[in-house]
């Protein structure tokens, strides 16, 4: 990486963090620490909400996912705008009316302490694990690309985040996130412009899309009514809506963002801005990946985008086979490129039959050139922790090899901003929830507010150190990232069910809801272990299970009599 790139990277990150610290005085009350003094406008809230959700994995993995699998992942976000409307109508007014610091505080008002602390505990468990992965996932990729050690990269990301979250609380987080999100969106637009400009000059934008379609990469909607298929229009609308309602409505790292608004209207507009912009933003990120794919139909891609893993495999006894595969890979690329060029040539002047035949040739050339899959097998056996799946490296590899000096630093800043913004939200939420829902509620209920701010800062720092430690040891657990991604869906449905029971089922009492939540978790885990249901559906299943089981338990009468809640 050039000196200019390092300057852009360090300058972008440093300026944003310093600006956030400069704009925010040290918080003196829990209201200031947790909700930033209730001063934010809708645009700050909207950008902070988006920056919290957009982790580095979003910018590293999604273009690679589109490179491999096309646009279908965008369906995951189709339920989000619906959820934003539901939350604006039903959730935000209730949070405001009860003047809560954490979402879970509301559950004690409606039910009882044990239900509140069950939901808060599920949040701490799931979000605490996620915070480590939020640091670990980009660190493992950046460390390989930059040549740093994994632990140094994790500590570097974690230390900067801990510094400004502990110092400034939510207001510092929101202020920095506003600028981080601008850098992220701007960086992706720049990446899109660069990749389109790097396509062959005689290839029009329409032809580039036609090439992507010929390879099945424009498959943005799947109408198949299958429960097992992970991303369909139906799972996106139904499962995605429930996941978004759970995440934005009950996860303190998000609730904290929009409750920092100066009014209900600002909070609602912030969430609705997210509902309006999110799908186009995710589409842009995926579309960048599709355009990178088209770029590599005209320019030879490496045998593996994970160059470090490829070098390691080339140092084993498999080196001759890898060399042979590399030669085959280059031959296959030339044949495929010729087929793609014939296809684009007939698009304008050929008849329908010629276009169909040329498109079939492209598909045949693509199917014949699956050399990379054999290379992945060789990479996988080159070491115990060899990362054979190179999808996460596609975008960064393209950036490092093809972007001009200065822009490489900007795109790395995008990825670091994403890692820092989501981690910062998680840490302030974890620290605030630990103090408000456990320490202050159950251990020391009547100390001065300044004491709770000090403890919240300590708790935030402690969660940050835990996250860095977790990131350092995360590589010892196989398939960790996938496990933690699925973990969210296993818990969110149940937590949402508790909140929906609180809001819309006035006859349900505390103990039936508490018992139903535990039973629902068992049902969800049982279904996850025993069936092949796509994980998005668990958001819906867990939520419905809580409501049905709580109703059944209430109807049976016995648990209802023992419930202390209303």
């Amino acid at each position: 990486m050039s000196a200019l790139d390092w300057c852009v990277l360090a300058g972008t990150i440093g300026l944003i963090v310093l600006y956030g610290l400069w704009k925010t005085r040290g918080p003196t009350s829990m209201g200031e620490y947790v909700h930033g003094g209730y001063r934010d406008r809708w645009l700050t809230i909207g950008l902070a909400v988006m920056a919290t959700q957009a982790s580095a994995i979003t910018f590293l993995s999604m273009p690679g996912q589109a490179y491999e699998d096309g646009l279908r992942f965008v369906q995951f976000y189709f339920g989000l705008p619906i959820a934003m409307v539901v939350l604006s109508v039903a959730f935000i007014p209730r949070f405001y009316r009860l003047r809560v610091l954490t979402a879970y505080e509301l559950l004690e008002t409606r039910f009882d302490l044990k239900t509140r602390q069950l939901a808060a505990f599920l949040f701490l468990l799931q979000r605490g694990l996620s915070a480590g992965v939020t640091i670990y996932a980009p660190a493992i990729v950046l460390s390989k690309v930059l040549g740093w050690s994994l632990n140094l990269t994790s500590v570097a990301i974690g230390a900067v985040v801990i510094l400004y979250t502990v110092a400034g609380g939510t207001r510092a987080v929101n202020q920095t996130q506003k600028h981080q999100m601008v850098v992220m969106l701007g960086g992706m637009v720049v990446a899109f412009v660069v990749v389109v400009r790097r396509l062959p000059p005689d290839l029009s934008f329409g032809h580039a899309i036609a090439v992507a379609r010929a390879f099945g990469k424009m498959n943005a909607v799947d109408l198949a009514p299958s429960l097992g298929s992970r991303y369909t229009l139906w799972s996106g609308l139904a499962g995605g809506c429930f996941l978004a309602m759970s995440y934005f409505g009950t996860d303190q790292s998000q609730v904290q963002r929009y409750l920092s608004g100066r009014s209900i209207a600002e909070s609602r507009l912030g969430l609705l801005f997210n509902g309006l912009v999110k799908v186009p933003m995710q589409f842009l990120i995926l579309f960048v990946g599709v355009m990178v794919f088209v770029f590599y139909q005209f320019n030879p891609p490496p045998l593996s985008f994970n160059e470090a893993a490829l070098r390691r495999a080339a140092a084993t006894s498999d080196a001759p086979r890898l060399e042979a595969l590399d030669a085959q890979h280059r031959d296959a690329f030339e044949r495929k490129r010729a087929a793609v060029q014939r296809y684009t040539a007939v698009l304008d002047r050929g008849g329908a039959a010629q276009v169909a035949a040329a498109r079939a040739d492209v598909a045949a050339a693509a199917a014949a050139g699956r050399v990379r899959e054999e290379a992945r097998v060789l990479i996988a056996r080159s070491g115990p922790r060899a990362d054979a799946n190179d999808a996460d490296y596609v975008f960064l590899s393209f950036v490092m090899a093809n972007l001009p000096r200065g822009l490489v630093g900007l795109l790395l800043a995008v990825i670091l901003c994403a890692a820092m913004s989501s981690t910062a939200s998680e840490l302030t939420a974890l620290g605030g929830c630990t103090v408000v829902d456990f320490y202050r509620r159950s251990f020391r209920p009547s100390a001065p507010d300044a004491h709770y701010v000090r403890v919240a800062k300590l708790a935030t720092g402690a969660w940050g150190v835990l996250a860095v430690l977790f990131a350092a040891f995360a590589g010892m657990v196989d398939n960790l990232i996938q496990a933690v991604n699925i973990l969210g869906s296993l818990f969110y449905g149940t937590i949402l069910g508790i909140f929906l029971a609180a809001f819309f089922a006035p006859r349900l009492r505390a103990t039936p809801v508490f018992v139903a939540a535990i039973l629902s978790e068992l049902v969800v885990f049982g279904l996850w272990l025993a069936t092949g249901i796509g994980f998005l559906w668990f958001n819906l299943i867990g939520c419905v299970a809580v409501l049905l089981l709580a109703s059944a338990l209430s109807a049976s009468g016995r648990p209802a009599r023992s419930g202390p809640g209303r």
Binding site: S29, M30, G31, H35, Y38, L71, V74, Q75, F78, P81, I82, M84, V85, S88, V89, P93, Y96, R97, R99, V100, L101, E105, I209, R213, M218, N219, A220, V221, L233, R262, S263, I264, A265, R268, L269, L272, G275, L276, V279, P280, F283, D449
Partner: protein
């Protein structure tokens, strides 16, 4: 909740923004989603 933490009166701030009613804003968000799904269907075909 400790008293005096939140200095602002929240409940009376539930006004719609001056440019549109809430119902119209919700329709804009959901209408944009419908347009995005239609665009995605067109791209996929």
């Amino acid at each position: 909740m400790s008293p005096g933490e939140d200095p602002r009166p929240r409940a009376e701030m539930d006004d719609a923004p001056p440019f549109l009613t809430w119902r119209a804003i919700y329709l804009v968000v959901l209408g944009a989603l419908a347009a995005e799904i239609a665009l995605a269907l067109a791209l996929a075909s």
